[in-house]
Every structure is written in C-alpha cells, then in structure tokens.
C-alpha cells in the first residue's frame, strides 16, 4: 500500500511551495487516477515519488509497504518496486536500448536478491515483452529513445516497466503525445500489468486515458492538495465541468 501523508514539498532552490499537505492512499491491487489542472503539482508528485533531486519535502511522509521512502535514492526506490513512467522520456545518445534494459533489470534483480539474468534469459524475456507492446526489436538496438516518435517513447517506457516488474507504478501523463492507436497499445500494456500485488497511480490531465485504463478511484489534485475523491465517474464529470470549481477554491 502507498500512503502519502500530509506531504509538503517545495522547490529546493526557490521558495515556491508546490504540494501543500497532500494525503492519499493506494492499496495494492488498485489503480488510482490523479487528475488536475496544469500547475496543480501532478508532475511534482510523480518526481517526488521517484526521488528526483531539486525538491524538498518540508513536512509529511511517503510510505510504501509501511516503509518511508523519502530519504531513499532513486535506485533504492526502484529496487523496492517504485517505477515512474515519464511524461517526457529522456533520450540517452550512445547507450543502446538493450544495454540499458539489461543493466537496469539486473541491477534491480541484484538488489531484490534475485539471480541476474543470463544473456539468453534476458533476450528471451525482452523479446516477449517487446512483442506484446508492438515494439520492433531492432529499435532496441538503437540508443535509448533517440529519434523515437512520441508513441515509441511511451511504449519504450511501458517496456521498461514490464521488464523491471515494479509493484508501484506511477504513470505521468502517459497519454500525452499519443494518437488513438498508440494509446490503445500503451493502455493494453499497462492493463496487462494490473494485478493483486501492484498499485498504480495514473496521473493525467484528460479523462481520455481513463477510458482505457479504468481506475478504481479518481482524485482531483489542485493547489497542492487532493480536493476531491470519487469513483471513475468523477473523471467524466470533470470532462464536462472542467477544473474551474477547484481552481476557484484554490484562489
């Protein structure tokens, strides 16, 4: 279970406070969506969960399976099962996709006290996962995300997620930059990972993604706090009424 308790976060270099007492729980086996207007703190929440530098937690805590993760390095969190699918996946020139995947997979397995995969095991594993996501295997021989289209980058994120077998998946605006076919492939990939041992937090601005990844709960994030929580029907309401109600409250 993910428990975010009264989380206050500011930018490390500036006085700007972004999260102002965010409280949220996602039990294992559930998928929760976070929706909110631009600037509400959605991406900050995603980065703080993954452990990116540049943010300072001034109050509150984040517990994953009962253990606080806020002091952990990003790689330790990954080993504990945390995975962030980036809104803008980064390009790494000069590092082949397969090398990257193998390094990451084995690093995580090592920390989880699982045996490292041999080359044939790894190749079989990656081929299987890539095929399910319609990823051309040749693409993985190229440098990570370099020259990939928006859709290819998002599929590459989901492939990494599938390879690392996380237990807490945070998807940051995974629908941005996707056409309808790519959205379906990506959503199918995410849905395939739904399971009783896995919690998912799907961050999105639009309701569209939630037609494909149907959430158990929807939270509205505005002005650094959860303003409202409801079932999947809340997303449809928001699509009609917009976020004015919440941004008004925030102002």
């Amino acid at each position: 279970m993910l428990e975010i308790k009264n989380l206050h976060v500011k930018l490390a270099d500036e006085d700007k406070v972004i999260l102002k007492g965010l409280t949220l729980s996602v039990p294992k086996g559930e998928v929760h969506a976070i929706m909110g207007p631009n600037g509400s703190g959605k991406s900050t929440l995603a980065y703080v969960l993954a452990g990116r530098e540049g943010y300072e937690v001034t109050d509150g805590d984040i517990l994953w399976n009962g253990e606080s993760i806020i002091e952990m390095e990003p790689d330790e969190r990954a080993a504990k099962g945390v995975f962030l699918a980036f809104q803008y996946p980064m390009e790494i020139p000069g590092v082949a996709g397969l090398t990257f995947l193998r390094t990451a997979t084995n690093a995580v397995r090592k920390k989880r006290e699982l045996p490292e995969m041999t080359t044939p095991e790894f190749m079989k594993f990656v081929k299987e996962k890539a095929a399910k996501l319609n990823i051309d295997f040749e693409m993985l021989k190229r440098p990570v995300n370099v020259g990939f289209s928006g859709g290819e980058k998002k599929r590459s994120e989901i492939l990494q997620m599938a390879m690392l077998e996380p237990t807490l998946c945070v998807l940051d605006e995974t629908d941005s930059g996707l056409d309808i076919d790519a959205l379906k492939v990506v959503s199918d990939g995410v849905n395939a990972l739904r399971g009783p041992d896995r919690a998912m937090l799907v961050i999105t601005h639009y309701q569209r993604l939630l037609n494909h990844i149907v959430p158990d709960k929807v939270h509205v994030l505005a002005d650094g706090r959860i303003q409202k929580t409801g079932g999947k029907e809340l997303a449809l309401e928001l699509e009609k009424s917009g976020y004015a109600e919440f941004t008004g409250k925030a102002a």
């Binding site: 993954a50 530098e53 996946p89 790494i92 000069g94 590092v95 990451a104 690392l164």
Partner: protein, 442 residues
C-alpha cells in the same frame, strides 16, 4: 621568454643565431650535434637535417605566441630534453601493442623500439635502411616544404632515427589493418618518421600505436607521418597514444589527398602526459572526403592537444571533424580546427564539432574553430560544447534502478563512445572502447 622573443625577431631579419634561450632548446641542439654523424641517411638527408636544425635554432620551440601552439606552449612546458635513443632496444609486437590488442593485431604489426625498427612485416620497409637507396617519392616527401613551417616538425626532420615506409600499390585492397607500434625505454627521446603512399583505388587501414603502460617512467617522442593518397583510394588511419605523467609526445600527420579519396583518421589519446596531435590535410583533388574523429580521456595534469589544418584547395570536397574529450582532475584538452577554403574551392562542405565532458571544476577545455573562407558557394559550420554530466539523465537511469556510479559511468562511456563509433573495424573499435573505459575508471 623575453630572450626568446628577441632571438626570433633577429632571426626573422636573416641573422644567424646560435644561442637559444631555453635549456631545452640548447639540449636539442646539443643532441643533434652529438648524433649528427651517426643519424641515418646520405649526404642529401644530412643536408636536410642540418637545414632543419638551423631553422629550428632560429625559431626555437613554439611558444603560446605561435597561434598553432596558443594553448600548448612547448617553450614553457618542455623543461628538459632526454637523450636521443638511436636503437639497441628490443620489443615484440604483443608487448609494444599492450593490453586490449589480440594476436591478430600483433601478427600485422611492425615494431619500433628505442627509435629503430625491430620487427618487420612484409610490405613495410624501415626508413633507416631505405635512405641510402630511397625512391624519389620518399626523398621528395622528406624534403616537403610544408614541414619547415613549424619547429616541432623541423625537430623531427633533424632527429628522426627510423620509421616505416609503406607503399601500397594502386588497386590493392589490404584486408587486415597494418599496425605500426612504437615503444621506448624510460628516460629517452625517440623520433620516428613514417612515409606512406597509397596508390590509386587502393584500400587500407593503417594503425599507429604508441603506449607507455602504467608505471612507465618519463619518455619523450616525436612521430611524424606523411601520407600521400592517390585518386580514388580509401584510407582509415588510426592513432592511439597513451602517455604517463611527465612524458611528452609530439605527433603530426601530413596528409595529401588526390581526387575522390576517402580519408578517415581517428586519434585517441589517453593518460596523463603532455600530448600534441597535429594534423594537416591538403585537398589536391576534387570530390574527396576527410572524416576525422578523435577521443581523449584526460586525468591528473594530462594535456592533450588536437590541432587541425584542413586546406580546401580545390572545389567539391567534404571535411568532417568530431572531437570528444572527457576531462577529470586538472586535465586540459585543446581542439583547434582551422579550415581554409581557397577562392576557387566552391561547393566545399565543412563541418566540425568539439565536445568536452567536464568531470572536475579544475579541468580545462580550449576549443578554437578557425574558418577562413574565401569562396562564396560553400557550407561550413562549427560547434563546440563543454558540459557536466546531465543530472536529468542520471536521474532517468537511477529511477530504473541503476546505481548512480554505474549511471555516470554509462553516460561518460556513451559520450566518448559516439566518437569511437566512427571506427568501423569491429576489433579496433572494441579495443579502443575498452582502453577508453579502462582509463575512465583509472
């Protein structure tokens, strides 16, 4: 330094100057006088050497006032001159090549130890042996006026003790790389001159390696390669130099390209010594391509200078330069890319990029593009960057479970790998990659 300026000024007015200002310059003159009688070559070569040392005496070692040595001041940095090695050493190919090179390379290597050839290979002649009966093209190359421009080259002409003479016949396709390996004892100076001619339509890969393994003492070396490439030939020319602290390596390549030539040089410099890699390219025929790559890894107080002069004398030629360096400690790298496009050299296409990855706040990267364009229908561009490792990329890697140190290593390797990837020969590319990797973790 004041004295040096005064001396060269007088010399410029045509006065004969016997006194030099620095101890190193005097030691070079003394070394020449001590060895002149026994240096290889007949009367013509002796005269060439005498003229070269005379010109050197008037110019002195290049200081930072000489534009080509702006960041690599030999007058200030060369304090002592080691005695000239004139042979007597032994080495086998495997030792000379050092770690990372397998027996395939050793089998194709010609080896020089302490300034003299010790292991021959079919098709390669030792210059010292050839001088008495040198073919005209070798004699002409040795006397090339282009080489009197700079005193580091004059020094080589005056002192060279041997070198490889390689004459690749027109149309020949040499499958395996031809390796020229040089090694030397500690505490000595060596001077080698390689003269290479590649016939029309021939294909060859030539590799020069000079490595002082870790733990070596101080060494000084001068290596000058002249390569003449005839029409339609395709040449890959690779250099690896590894130096240790306190050592000096002065390298220069002089390349003359015919028409429709593909010339791909790649130079890698690792270690903590003081290294100069000069490269002059002359486009003498149309539709030729010069595609240069360089990678250097600097530590400690290492200094690696790559200075190029690319002379587009004729139309329709292409030049590409990619220089990448990783700098740690107080290491310094220099890239000078001078591109001259002569008035008639229309349709010239020249691009250069120099990039440094700075791992330490005390490292220094000096990058100086110099474009002299006298033709109006050309495309020429240059770029240069110096940056630290991108923290966003480190985060991306660590968020996937990769530990920070591994992530940084991977990113550094990929940075330098982009240059090494220009080496098409798989075995060479892998060996150079491993050498870069090992020096990155040194």
């Amino acid at each position: 330094m004041e004295g040096a300026a005064a001396v060269s000024e007088k010399a410029g007015r045509g006065m004969t100057v016997q006194m030099l200002s620095t101890k190193a310059e005097q030691a070079i003159l003394a070394s020449f006088e001590a060895n002149a009688a026994t240096l290889p070559g007949g009367a013509a070569v002796a005269a060439l050497r005498r003229a070269a040392i005379g010109a050197f005496a008037s110019k002195g070692l290049p200081s930072r006032r000489v534009e080509e040595f702006k960041y690599t001041d030999l007058k200030a940095n060369v304090k002592d001159v080691l005695p000239l090695a004139t042979g007597g050493g032994t080495s086998d190919a495997a030792t000379a090549l050092g770690a990372h090179f397998g027996p395939d390379f050793a089998a194709n290597a010609v080896v020089f130890a302490d300034g003299r050839g010790v292991a021959a290979k079919a098709g390669v002649t030792f210059l010292a042996d050839a001088l008495g009966k040198a073919p005209d093209w070798v004699s002409a190359a040795l006397a090339d006026a282009e080489l009197s421009a700079s005193s580091d080259l004059l020094l080589n002409t005056a002192l060279f003790t041997d070198g490889a003479v390689l004459d690749i016949a027109a149309g020949a396709e040499v499958a395996e790389p031809i390796v020229i390996a040089a090694t030397a004892k500690d505490g000595a100076m060596t001077a080698l001159r390689h003269v290479i001619r590649v016939g029309a339509g021939a294909k060859a890969t030539i590799v020069e390696i000079e490595r002082a393994p870790k733990g070596s003492g101080v060494r000084q070396s001068s290596a000058l390669t002249q390569i003449m490439i005839a029409d339609g030939a395709e040449v890959v020319h690779i250099k690896l130099v590894e130096t240790q602290k306190g050592s000096l390596h002065l390298s220069h390549w002089q390349a003359n390209l015919g028409a429709n030539v593909s010339y791909k040089p790649f130079q890698m410099t690792v270690g903590e010594g003081f290294v100069r890699n000069g490269l002059n390219v002359l486009f003498n025929g149309q539709h030729s391509t010069f595609d240069y790559g360089a990678a250097s890894v600097g530590h400690g107080t290492g200094h690696a200078d790559s200075s190029l002069i690319v002379d587009h004398k004729v139309p329709h030629c292409t030049s590409r330069e990619l220089f990448k360096t990783v700098l740690d400690g107080q290491a310094r790298a220099v890239f000078q890319g001078r591109v001259i496009v002569r008035p008639n050299a229309q349709k010239t296409d020249g691009k250069q990029m120099a990039q440094a990855l700075m791992l330490s706040p005390d490292a220094e990267f000096d990058s100086k593009p110099e474009l002299e364009i006298y033709a109006d229908d050309v495309v020429c561009g240059h770029g240069s960057t110096a940056a630290e490792i991108d923290p966003d990329l480190v985060f991306y890697c660590t968020s996937r479970g990769i530990p920070t140190a591994v992530a940084r290593g991977m990113l550094i390797e990929s940075f330098i790998g982009e240059a090494i990837d220009k080496v098409e020969h798989e075995g060479l590319r892998e060996a150079l990659g491993e050498i870069a990797r090992d020096s990155l973790t040194a």
